[in-house]
Structures are given as structure tokens and as C-alpha cells.
Symmetry: C2
């Protein structure tokens, strides 16, 4: 049962759930660092004009005001960030002189969207971003690497395989140009819905937007193309349209297809129906969905943005993506896919013989901690049976019984199976599998989603 | 040079600084977990009445409003949390049925204070809290443990020794009661300033508050008492005043003094001038300052709060403290005490022979990453000398040169000393000290603060 949320859209977790979230974040961090991304954090707030300048087409922003603002005080112009890309661009320009380019950073923080309470959407959630931003030019290699990092990071997580679909805005825009369509943002919005509303739905949407039936059919034709091999490029060319932008896009798409050929299991495919909602993307766009949970939407997404940041004559093209940690968490919990081997980091509950003998239990705890074993000392000294029950309720696997009289030995009980043995506080170590909290994949829940073959891999 | 802050009070760090902050947080987390505290996070926002109900005497709160609020929408009643204790109490009551008591949790998050921009204070900062909350009764043992955890966590950090001073509100209030002083909150405020304004200053402040000269002298007498042994208790009793509250407080103080006797170097002392600003404290209060930087204020603080949370007839007394991560960070950076062994997690910069040979560099990177070695592949392929310069500017210690022709070997260069050797991507390991980013104590800066003896310990 997840923690109760007394304000909708602001999820909170119980400790045993938070430990899962911590593990997800730690795993993503390790993967990003393996690729040489360096950590930063930006403040939660940005100036309103920075937030409104670029980014979402319709920003849902929380503005701040001081409770104790004086009457003559100018209104606050600050709001909470709604993503991590816009703050990163601002940070990059401010610290340009202290950074080395191409600058590779990762950033794992909460973001906020000022949605209506009734929307059912998250209003606070974790994103795990990585981006590389260059001065003036950033090679297409960065686009391919983005897909590789998305794959590496999601594969390292204890979640269903993530299928990454990518596209290239230049291909679509170049294709629409060749078709003579001006309002391509509108077309992108329609086409992006192919998964949800099907061909007929997209056709009616396009025709409602004053796109002729013939052109709409062409838009649908290209949107239906997908695959993991270079035949995708051939399929697009077979549609018989041409523009220089389209050609440039196809070249980039070819590069990314080639660079991701080695990834097994069709986990990376080109998919011409992917558009991504953010209007700052200019080339490659990508998103990932979890196998077996395709209906729950994407759990990661990103792309190239060539024009987000600039300073004087300098441009700072970037490529990066974001993993939706909170979205993954909520899916894992909703379907019961993961659980924790215990409800607390404590591995040992040190029992208390009596209040007068507390120094003895404290000494045991100190000896265990000195060797990295997490433990908790009983708060009061009821009978040992009662103390075992308390430990059990806390989900701590071992109870330590200090010697009752000087000269007598200590003993420890594994309360999961009742095994008890004589031990020394300076020597005993928990079995390997109990040293740290473990994340457990619940087989039945995975089977229910048809993911048993993945589990056994 | 720290990252530039374009909004005052909202500090941001460069990657090499953020890596120090990450290490501080990771170290505190480990220590809290060794004591069996379980992790939670609460949402950044609380309902206004929760924020205003308890806590700071004069809350500096940021309120939220939706940019896109409709006209008929009721005003938002949410604000950003200003500490982690108030949210924790709320969370505890909401999730009471799923938690085991006494509930021990830690929580490391940012908090926000809606201070005026000109105040020079932090408006966003990290706190690392640990607390234990019980149902109805929480033994004095928890107070002693709080001091022990504060000591253990701050000692594990690469910072100057933290001197922890503690007091007990019951001792002070019981003493003032016995003196016949009603308005003891006012007296606490004055006495708390002893460090800053001295005896004369406190005397005038007290007399301005309508405390008679004789009573003010007594208040000053007790405030001047401090020490690490039980003589402190004797000194207080020698002042010849008595009340049942005072006696209860002295008993608690005796317990904490006894339980912390084993901590060496006078790092824990009772100090009757410590009051702490928060009005929810009811017994033990404690704060820590860094040796050699006493003027910079406390870096951790906490205490017992018996009345913060209640539900029906149930009371939930708690004890806990907070380490001010951002305050510590800013002090470390300001005095140049710490630095990072490199500016990025990347240990190896894989050079690029030519764009056509990129697959070769990618393969090297993949082999290194598979063995946990963080690396970055060159973005473009200028001459090797240029690539070495780029790696150097990025602060990456090793540059990898893939074979120029099939059959030829790979080599790696330590660009700090120029050493070059032939290596294999599946076998080479960086020297132990270069595997992870190291935090370095800058000897000269420590010496300058008179902390050289600490460094050598």
C-alpha cells in the first residue's frame, strides 16, 4: 500500500517504497556517470521570463509569493521549474566561463507542474536528466549516444525492458515541406496520437485542420513507417517526396540507426509517428515505453535542441533525455512488480535486558556499526518475546540478545526461521544477502503482465 | 570559484562542487542508516494551515499560485515547506497505520524560506534530518541517542570537528519558574544571545524586558554554566533554586551527560546558554558548531518535541536533529577547505582517430564501462595533442588512444605526469586512488584556520 497522499498529484512513499526509489535513482546515477556525465543541481525556482521564454507550449507553472511580503514590495517574478532542461540552459550560460565544452551533465531533481488538482496528473515528480551541450556545433554522434544512454540506464533498472522509439523532426518537417504543408506543428500534434486514436482518428483530425485528403493520406503513410533496420530509410524514400531538410534528416536518422544496430531484441526502433510534445526539439526525438505496460505512456524521452540556448553570436546546441523516475515508481507499485527485502535499513534489532543494562546493548550496537552493520537498539525493555514481535513488525530480520550476566555470551536470532546462534559483537556478520536492503522482483506480478520470460533471462 | 547565483539566496554549485555535496549527503545517509533510520521524502508543499500551525515563531513562507488559474478557481492554500520536521509530523499522522513505532526516519531534502531578497540568508537549502517519533512515550534514551547520531554523522564528514552543545528546556523553564518569571520565552531569546552580545548585553536586554536586576543576574548565572561532566548538574543545584520541572530537567540532562561521556575531546558539552529558536522544543535541545569557524553559526541542531503531533487522544513525542548541508558546503567552499580530485566522474577520455573510426572508440568505451570505469568519447577528431588538451581542461586524468591500424595495440596516457603504457580495453584498471572521484582536504586552508592538528589526526 503506497503512502497516503493528502494533496492529489503530490505522491509520497512509505520507507520500503522510498528505498526502491533510492535504488532506481542510484542506478541511473551510476549509469550516467559511466558515460562521463557530471552532476549538477539547479535551484527549484527560475525567473518567470526564463520559464515562459521557451519550453512547453502551454506551461503549467507554479508562481511564488512571500507570505510576509510588505505592501510596497514588488510582486515576486519567480516560479518553480517545470523541467530540468530550461534551468540547465540558463545555468550553462551563467557559468559558461567555468565549464568545459561539450559540457556533459546529469541532474536528478523534482520538478513541478501547476496542473489543476482534478487533472489526475503528477504535480510534483522526479526527473533524471542527462544532456550534452556544445559551443556552436554538436555532432550527430551525440544523438546516437543519447539513445545508447537511454538504453543503458533503463536496462540497468529492475523494470520491464524499455522499448525506445526514435524519430527525427527534420524528416517529418522536410516531408511536410515537400508536401506543401505550412502548419507542420499542427500535423505533428495529430500524428503523435496515432498510437491512441488510430489511422481513422488521425485522418479526421488532419482533415479538420484543413489538410487535404491526399496530403493527409501521405502524412499517415510516413507516420506508419517503423523498424530497426535501414529499410526504414528506404520506405520513406519510396514515398517519393523530397526536400533538402528531409534529406538532412534521413542522413541523421541513418546515423542513429547504424549506431544502435548492436542493441539486441528490437529494443531500439525508428518510428515515424513519434513527435514529442516539446516545441524546442529540432532533430532527433526519442521516447521509451515499458514492455507489457505500453498503455501507461512513456517513461523516458528526449531529443536534440539546437536553439534553446544562445548568447550574443554564440549558439549552444544540445542533446539529452530524461527518465521519469516517479512515473516508473508509480507503475512498479501499481502493478506490485517490486518490493523491498525489509522495511528499514536496520539489519539487527538489539534487544534490551533492562533499562539498567542499556549500556551493554549500546556497546553491541556500536561494535556492529563500526563494521558497517545497521542496527537499532530497543526503546524499552519488555520481555524478549515482545521485543521480537516489535522487530518483526519493523521488518528487521535479526534480533540480538546481549549476555544476561557477565561472562555469558551473546546470541542472535534470525526471526524469519527461528535459527539462533552464539555470536560475538566484534565478529558476527550478516549473511551476504542480508547486508543491504535488497530489491525483489515479485514473480507473480511479472507473470501476470506476460513478463515471465524477461524475469528468467 | 562557486557557480554564479543569479538569484540571491539560491546557491548553485559547479559540478566539482556538487560532487563534494553529493559525498557529504551520501556520508550522512550512511551514518543515519547505521543507526536504523529509514528514508522518506515528503512533497515540497504543505497546506498553509499546517505550515502556520506550528514551527517557527515568525514563518518566512513561500506561497504557491497557479499561473494558469481560472478566475473562479479558489486561491491556492499551499506553500513550500520551511523545514522537514513539520512535514514529517503530518506524514506520520497520515500514514500511522502503515508505520511501526517508535518510527525512525531520515529525510534529506531542500527546504525554502521566503526571506526578503536583501536579507543575505539562504532562501533554498539542504537539510539532513533524522527523527524518532513514538506513540505516547519516548524514553530519554532517544535524547542521548540524538546527540550520539549528531556526533557520529558530523565526525564522518570531511569537515572540522563539530562541537555539540546541549541544554534542556525544562531546566531553564523550571529555573525561571522557581525565580517567579512568567515570560520565559522572552528570557530564552535574550539568553540565547550570550555568545554574541556578552553578559552586559544580555543583562540590558533582560532588564529592558522588565526582569528585575536580581532575577536577571540569576538568569545570567545559569546561562554561564557549561561543561562535559556531572559537575554541571552540581553547579546548577548550587544556585539554590528549585521546582519540580527543574528537577525533571536535571534528571534528563544527567542522563544525556552520562550517555555521552565516552565521546572524546570535549566534543559534547552541556551549555546552559543554548536555547534554539524553534518554539516546538520541550526538553533537550542541541546544536553543533565547527571548530575554528565558531563565528559562522551552527551547522546542526535539534531537540525533543513532545507536542508537535497528536491525533485524538494520542500524542506522538519526538526527538530529532538536522544537519545543515548547504551551510556546511558554503563554509567549506568559502574557506577553500575541500576540493575534488577531478571535475567529472569520467576517469578516461577515449580519443578519436577519425570520424570513420568512431566505432572503435565506442567499443573501447563500452568495454571500460562494462567494468565500471567511467569514460567519455571525444566529440570530434582533431589531432591527439588537441584532444589531450580538451581532456585536461575537462579534468579527466587519462586519455585512451585506440589502435591506429588493425592488429596494433591500444595505449593510455596519464596526462598528469605523461606516463604512457600499452593496454587492453578488457584488462586495464585505473590505479585505486583514481577509480572514484576523491574529496581532498586542502592542507593550507586547514592550517590557516588553525586546524592542522585535526588534519594530522
Amino acid at each position: 500500500m503506497p503512502a497516503k497522499t493528502s494533496i492529489s498529484g503530490f505522491p509520497e512513499w512509505l520507507p520500503e517504497e522510498r528505498m526502491i526509489e533510492q535504488r532506481l535513482i542510484e542506478t541511473i546515477k551510476q549509469q550516467y556517470e559511466l558515460f562521463g556525465f557530471a552532476p549538477i543541481e539547479t535551484r527549484a525556482v527560475e525567473q518567470k521570463d526564463v520559464l515562459l521564454g521557451k519550453g512547453e507550449t502551454s506551461q503549467e507553472i507554479y508562481l511564488l509569493s512571500r507570505l510576509q511580503a510588505r505592501e510596497d514590495e514588488p510582486e515576486s517574478d519567480m516560479g518553480l521549474h517545470f523541467d530540468l532542461t530550461v534551468p540547465f540552459s540558463r545555468y550553462l550560460l551563467e557559468n559558461r566561463g567555468s565549464l568545459s565544452f561539450p559540457f556533459r551533465r546529469y541532474q536528478i531533481q523534482k520538478v513541478w507542474r501547476g496542473e489543476r488538482a482534478s487533472s489526475g496528473r503528477f504535480r510534483e515528480f522526479y526527473q533524471a536528466d542527462f544532456d550534452v551541450i556544445a559551443e556552436n556545433n554538436l555532432s550527430i554522434h551525440a544523438d546516437a549516444e543519447m539513445v545508447q544512454v537511454m538504453h543503458a540506464a533503463t536496462t540497468a533498472l529492475p523494470i520491464p525492458p524499455v522499448i525506445i522509439r526514435f524519430n527525427n523532426r527534420k524528416v517529418l518537417e522536410g516531408f511536410y515541406q515537400a508536401l506543401g504543408i505550412e502548419n507542420f506543428e499542427k500535423v505533428l500534434t495529430c500524428v503523435d496520437k496515432l498510437d491512441k486514436i488510430g489511422s481513422d482518428g488521425v485522418m479526421s483530425m488532419l482533415e479538420e485542420s484543413d489538410i487535404s485528403h491526399e496530403k493527409a493520406l501521405k502524412c499517415l503513410d510516413i507516420a506508419k513507417i517503423n523498424g530497426s533496420t535501414l529499410s526504414v530509410i528506404q520506405d520513406i524514400q519510396d514515398l517519393g517526396l523530397n526536400s533538402s531538410l528531409l534529406e538532412q534528416g534521413l542522413e541523421e536518422m541513418t546515423y542513429v540507426l547504424r549506431a544502435t544496430q548492436h542493441i539486441p531484441g528490437n529494443l531500439v526502433t525508428a518510428d515515424l509517428s513519434i513527435a514529442r510534445g516539446l516545441n524546442y526539439y529540432t532533430g532527433t526525438v526519442a521516447e521509451g515505453i515499458m514492455q507489457g505496460m505500453e498503455g501507461s505512456g512513456s517513461v523516458c524521452g528526449g531529443g536534440r535542441y539546437d536553439n534553446l540556448a544562445s548568447q550574443g553570436n554564440f549558439k549552444f546546441p544540445g542533446v539529452g533525455a530524461s527518465i521519469g523516475v516517479t512515473r516508473i515508481m508509480s507503475q512498479m507499485l501499481e502493478h506490485g512488480l517490486l518490493s523491498c527485502s525489509r522495511k528499514t535499513p536496520a539489519c539487527v534489532y538489539v534487544a534490551l535486558v533492562s533499562e539498567a543494562m542499556r549500556h551493554q546493548s549500546d556497546a553491541v550496537a556500536q561494535a556492529l556499526r563500526a563494521r558497517g552493520i545497521a542496527c537499532e537498539v530497543a526503546d524499552t525493555a519488555p520481555k524478549f518475546g515482545k521485543q521480537i514481535k516489535i522487530a518483526d513488525k519493523k521488518g528487521i530480520p535479526f534480533v540480538w540478545f546481549p549476555s544476561l550476566e557477565p561472562g555469558q555470551g551473546h546470541s542472535i536470532k534470525d526471526i524469519r526461521n527461528g535459527d539462533q546462534q552464539d555470536v560475538s559483537p566484534t565478529k558476527w556478520m550478516p549473511p551476504e544477502q542480508d547486508r543491504q536492503v535488497r530489491i525483489i522482483k515479485n514473480e507473480k506480478a511479472w507473470e501476470k503482465l506476460g513478463l515471465d520470460s524477461v524475469l528468467k533471462r
